[in-house]
Symmetry: C2
Subunit: 426 residues, 2 copies
């Protein structure tokens, strides 16, 4: 089935808001197995909207529309959709009761213009809006001899997203009768093209589950998506395909598996916290060029306080020396960007905070500060545990800008801590 998203709102055309509804629904419908070829945005203009609705319904099976519902925009989306399906509107008493109940709950009087929302197309499914006043709608019918489906949702993301999940998704799921399940493999230390080359035969041969790579900023993600009659079956299919992938040459680069979007987005840091919890260890940082980014990423995760002690941002050499106890000779001879300094920083952070494991970073993020011996992108890392301290130096490409070098550095430091705890290095 082909699905198309049509967003309605002059504020989108003016760029006053970013269209996050579109991305959200696109992701959800893709995971449900719908194909998608077009996404359109039009303003609050009845004529152009009518044209856009007709065009979308002519080329797609399902059209999901957001925005343009409710009295402030004259319900233009509802009217255009009803017209496209050749439906009259009728006054739906139970919708009136729903809206009255909403106003009762928020303790405000229901104004007259809200009654326009109670007029709904004949034969439509009304989706009750718990998060606002404009109800959503599901409409199905024959257009040009083909079965077509339209879903109408309010524009504000705080209404659109939960209503998609709770109302539209079940209404649409019955169209295929299948369950969709996805799982991500997170790879580090391998490029996207290298991973793609290894997995290409599998990607091309696999229709269900599908295997697809996603390039993220500092890692490669492989997404396995299965479609089956039950969740258990889909999960088993994903597990089997993942075992197959792990046996290929990309296997050693897999550092984590996730399925919820939150963990997927923060895979390195959630993996780090998971390893710390598994070992019952506490964590600390000594950051120079990242200036607190590693700590901030760890602090992003709810409950990080179980394992995170804190750290020292030693941007200036005085702080490296006075707070972390880096010997003055090191700074005066080999300099701040050296493995000697990184080692002393990691040890200092562990000593100062009492953490079980500390990582340190000191490097040149650019654009200035590079030298022929230590060009922009040179970063020294240290990891210190009770067992000892070890270090390494990385040269991130100078094509990366300052922001990217800092993010790559933060990520690599966490990766080193994870591998150290897993006993893979150190």
């Amino acid at each position: 089935m082909i699905c198309e998203i049509l967003c309605v709102g002059t504020e989108l055309l003016l760029g006053d808001i970013v269209n996050t509804d579109g991305a959200f629904i696109a992701r959800e419908t893709a995971a449900m197995g719908f194909s998608s070829y077009h996404q359109t945005t039009v303003g609050d203009n009845p004529e152009r909207l009518r044209e856009a609705v007709n065009l979308a319904l002519s080329r797609s099976d399902v059209v999901i529309m957001t925005g343009g519902l409710g009295p402030t925009c004259d319900d233009i989306t509802k009217n255009a959709a009803a017209e496209a399906f050749g439906r009259k509107l009728y006054f739906d008493e139970s919708t009136r009761e729903d809206i009255a109940r909403f106003f009762e709950r928020i303790g405000r009087p229901m104004t007259e213009n809200n009654l326009s929302q109670c007029w709904v197309p004949e034969g439509a499914t009304v989706f009750y809006n718990k998060w606002g006043t404009a109800p959503g709608l599901g409409i199905e019918g024959e257009i040009g001899g083909k079965r077509k489906y339209a879903v109408l949702l309010p524009g504000p993301p705080a209404e659109c997203e939960p209503m998609f999940e709770e109302c539209a998704k079940p209404w649409l799921a019955r169209l295929s009768g299948d369950v969709i399940h996805s799982r991500n493999l997170h790879l580090y230390g391998i490029g996207e093209s290298a991973a793609e080359q290894i997995l290409r035969p599998m990607m091309e041969a696999s229709e269900n589950p599908t295997v697809a790579p996603y390039a993220c900023e500092h890692e490669v993600r492989i997404r396995v998506t299965a479609r089956a009659k039950s969740l258990e079956e889909a999960e088993a299919m994903c597990r089997e395909k993942i075992a197959e992938i792990r046996k290929t040459a990309v296997g050693p680069s897999v550092y984590a598996e996730t399925d919820d979007p939150f963990s997927a987005k923060n895979a390195m840091v959630t993996t780090l916290i998971g390893e710390l919890r598994r070992k019952g260890w506490t964590f600390a940082t000594a950051e120079s060029c990242t200036a607190g980014m590693i700590g901030s990423m760890v602090g992003d995760i709810p409950g990080a306080s179980d394992v995170f002690m804190g750290g020292i941002i030693s941007y200036a050499n005085e702080v490296k020396e006075n707070v972390l106890g880096v010997p003055h000779e090191i700074l005066a001879t080999v300099g701040a960007v050296s493995e000697e300094c990184a080692a002393a920083m990691a040890e200092g952070a562990r000593r100062q905070t009492g953490a079980d494991i500390a990582v340190s970073v000191t490097g040149i993020a650019g654009p200035g500060g590079g030298t022929p011996e230590k060009p922009v992108g040179t970063v020294c890392f240290g990891v210190s545990t009770e067992k000892g301290t070890w270090t390494e130096t990385r040269h991130f490409s100078g094509k990366n800008d300052r922001a990217k070098i800092r993010r790559l550095t933060a990520n690599h430091a966490m990766y080193l801590a994870i591998r150290t705890m897993r006993g893979e290095i150190g």
Copy 2:
């Protein structure tokens, strides 16, 4: 003139990325005075892209396309646009030199497939891409007896946004023969609707310069855009309108003025660094709930090492006590989220790092950890200078999530440091 945005990329249709290019260009073209009625997204499919390009060029004067440039997507956008204008491609030697220069700069070999990017439509303007390899293009010509314009830009926002500003904007501005100049006023401590209410008469009365508010996450931005025959004239018009705005009730909330996109995006932190340089002061942090975010934001700015000493991430109470010297009685009685603790943290950071001014934050970012007395969103701040230490408590609404509370906290801490240095508080 009617302008339409056409974004190309299967990753947009799948919802893997949010279409920020579309919103950015929409805002910029609206500020330039173009009307906009449609925005479309299509995938990496040559036939559907061709249809979309033709449709867009049939109903709009200017079509701005993003994505689908470069060898990995077979240059489909370039080919579709060239075909729509009936142009042949030729091998442009100077583009080859530009791309070779880019690879030289990043120190990597230029691969064969990059040469496809040197084929450009006859009569097109090539926009040199300083930020990546795929050049942008400006094409104009007659289609169906009407003058039409197309701009092609790479998809990654880090390339698309600066290329729009530096290349596409001047190319488009000449369509009207005018120069466009914008300037942003950054407001803190006032809501968008309050600012809009105050400025509405001016917004409605002003056609040139235009006055438009932009709601950002933690501040309100007012953008003044003037169109004139020369840059000097446009700048003078902006200056005059800004003086008028500053005389209204929003005046006291203006904390910065910017015009380049980098400073606009980082206005609070670039303003902080500007104030530190002006006073010749050094800066340090003591961060609990933000866990290094303030330090990281300061470290984002090239050259921050002039003024930034570093700081202490005191996530655990042990670190507050042992490294920052917060008295044990404070932690045992009023607790870590208290103005007493914030004061001791700021003083400890100043003592440990030797900085002239230190800020501290300690609060409850949630979702857990709130109590009736100290609900989620409660944050205590401290600012310490040679003159003394002062504190305040803020209650960010619990409707904000953890990530947002942390960002609001980081921003507010910097705002307090700025106002302290300006002698407005403390």
